[in-house]
Amino acid sequence: MLRRALDGGGVYLVLAGLLALVPLVNSDAYFVHILTLSLMHSALASSWNLICGYTGLFSFGHQAFFGLGAYVSSLMAMKAGLSPWLGLVVGGGVAAAAGFVIALPCLRLRAPPYIAIATLGFAEICRFTAMNLVGLTRGELGLWGIPEMTPVPVPGVGQVSFTGQRVPYFYLMLAIYVAMMALLYWLVRSPLGLALKSVRDSEDAAESLGVDIVRTKILIFVLSSFLAGVVGAFYAHYVLILTPSSVLSVGVMIEIVAMTLIGGLGTFLGPTVGAFGITLLLEYMRVLGDYRLLIYGALLIAIILFIPEGIAKRLLPRRVAL
């Protein structure tokens, strides 16, 4: 009975339920903020894990889609008065369109280093564009005055306001995270999930068995970019200030890579484990905080040398980890 529930994804629902209870126990604003950030990193890393861990495409420009989602949603809200709620979707949509564009040159590239350079180049184009369009984005001075999420009625609770509040944002992020993980859970178990992993393990064999690898790659670029864009839009309406270097720089990508790798590339919960681990570690050990980038560097080397498969596969039973 229990086993069956675990297999059916019940374990994830239980985990999500436990997370949902946390702010009721400890509603300290800083603590809730850290949890929100952890969830956001989990979602972002999971969206990259879909393209790199499951499909084997070594994209190194995921920050572009995160940043695009953030800037598009903010600017639409500020200049066109678009509701931030719609912004989440529109931000994701624009990121998805960008994912489609960058997928095209990547289709011809089979060597991971080439794909890494192409996607990184695209992300740099986005960063410089955001820096240069000063009239629109204020460049490195930062885009501020981004509207918060508008109040929303929740059954049983009444009208929920986001202004100056941490807890509602936490629940919103949790909802995004759960929805996204549900989608991924279904996806990696669907035939499409099989196709993704077959492209990762051997493109030649996948193609010979009827998988249209061109379509599959484009689809996964688009989907993964969409998810990153949604997370980016959330980030914008949460921290309320954006600079090109905070959302579009290689540093964002490095965090994603470090978190995913330490958790376990290509495992379902790996990015979440890594994101929570690193976020909590760096926020709560202030001493370490000063050295956070130093630690990222050392971590990347240590992981690749000593535990290339990540810790999720070691700590969790195979069924959960995969």
Binding site: F58, P105, P113, F128, Y296
Partner: protein
């Protein structure tokens, strides 16, 4: 727009092109022999900058000594990187990706180590040669002339060494066919080690030459590394001639963009060029492994 201005800009493009070529030829040598991207290459450049700063101002050495000292220091770091980080990953599954992540880690580590050790204040060093020359109304600072001259000489020397010396031939042989090199008695692991040392020294040289014009700081390598990647792809990864050609091409393209459009958008133009080349001709202009 006066013709003098155009020529001056093209000359400036050659200066940055020379630096790009030094950096990119290192990346290309590593790609040729080891088939990996070195994301820590920008940090060799950064270490070269600090190396020359300390040798010059604290050690009181003349430039002619300080620059080789900085190159040597970077070479040692490069060889340590090969032995400690890259060597353990060789011949293991995941070689497509593992060195990218490992050298990226090393890059962040070195960058932040430099930040903690030497602080974030930008450091400057004086021109090696003051003044300039006025040729038909075109001003050229001696320092810039020196950059182009030194780069040309060094690249000629490196190419000659690769062509003629036993060591250089062993390196080319390893790049062209590793198994054949092994069967000829070449210790390819030693070749890898020396390749990292050489390329680190070339990057340090680039920094030492450019340091009097730009300032020295822990992040100085990052932007240049990305440019060097563009140059490599333009020229064809693994091709030394391609790296040189690509460097000059990118340098002048950027200068002309500045002249005709704006300096802010030159980087965007460069990266758009990268993606177009990858799309249309992934092998680059000289996408062979013959060098």
């Amino acid at each position: 727009m006066s013709p003098g201005l155009v020529v001056e800009q093209i000359f400036n493009g050659l200066v940055s092109g020379a630096i790009y070529a030094l950096m990119a030829s290192g990346l290309s040598l590593i790609w040729g022999t080891l088939k990996m991207l070195n994301f820590a290459h920008g940090e060799f450049y950064m270490l070269g900058g600090f190396g020359v700063y300390f040798a010059l101002l604290l050690g009181g050495l003349p430039p002619l000594v300080a620059v080789p000292v900085a190159m040597l220091g970077a070479a040692v770091v490069g060889m340590l990187l090969e032995r400690l980080v890259i060597h353990p990953l060789l011949d293991k599954p995941g070689w497509d990706v593992s060195p990218i992540i490992a050298t990226l880690g090393a890059s962040i580590l070195l960058q932040n180590l430099a930040l903690h050790l030497w602080g974030e204040r930008f450091k400057n060093i004086p021109y090696y040669i003051e003044g300039g020359v006025n040729l038909f109304g075109i001003r050229m600072a001696w320092q810039r002339v020196l950059i182009v001259a030194v780069t040309v000489v060094v690249i000629v020397v490196v190419v000659a060494a690769l062509r003629r010396s036993r060591w250089g031939m062993a390196l080319r042989a390893t790049a062209q066919d590793r198994d054949a090199a092994v069967l000829a008695g070449i210790d390819v692991y030693a070749v890898y080690l020396w390749t990292l040392g050489l390329t680190a020294a070339l990057a340090a040289l680039a920094a030492a030459m450019l340091a009097p014009i730009y300032s020295i700081n822990p992040w100085m390598g990052t932007a240049l590394l990305l440019k060097a990647f563009i140059v490599c792809v333009l020229g064809g990864l693994g091709s030394l001639e391609g790296a040189i050609l690509g460097g000059v091409l990118l340098g002048t393209t950027e200068s002309l963009t500045v002249l005709l459009w704006s300096s802010e958008w030159k980087d965007v133009v460069a990266f758009v060029l990268l993606i177009l080349v990858l799309w249309v001709r992934p092998a680059g202009l000289m996408g062979t492994r013959e060098w």
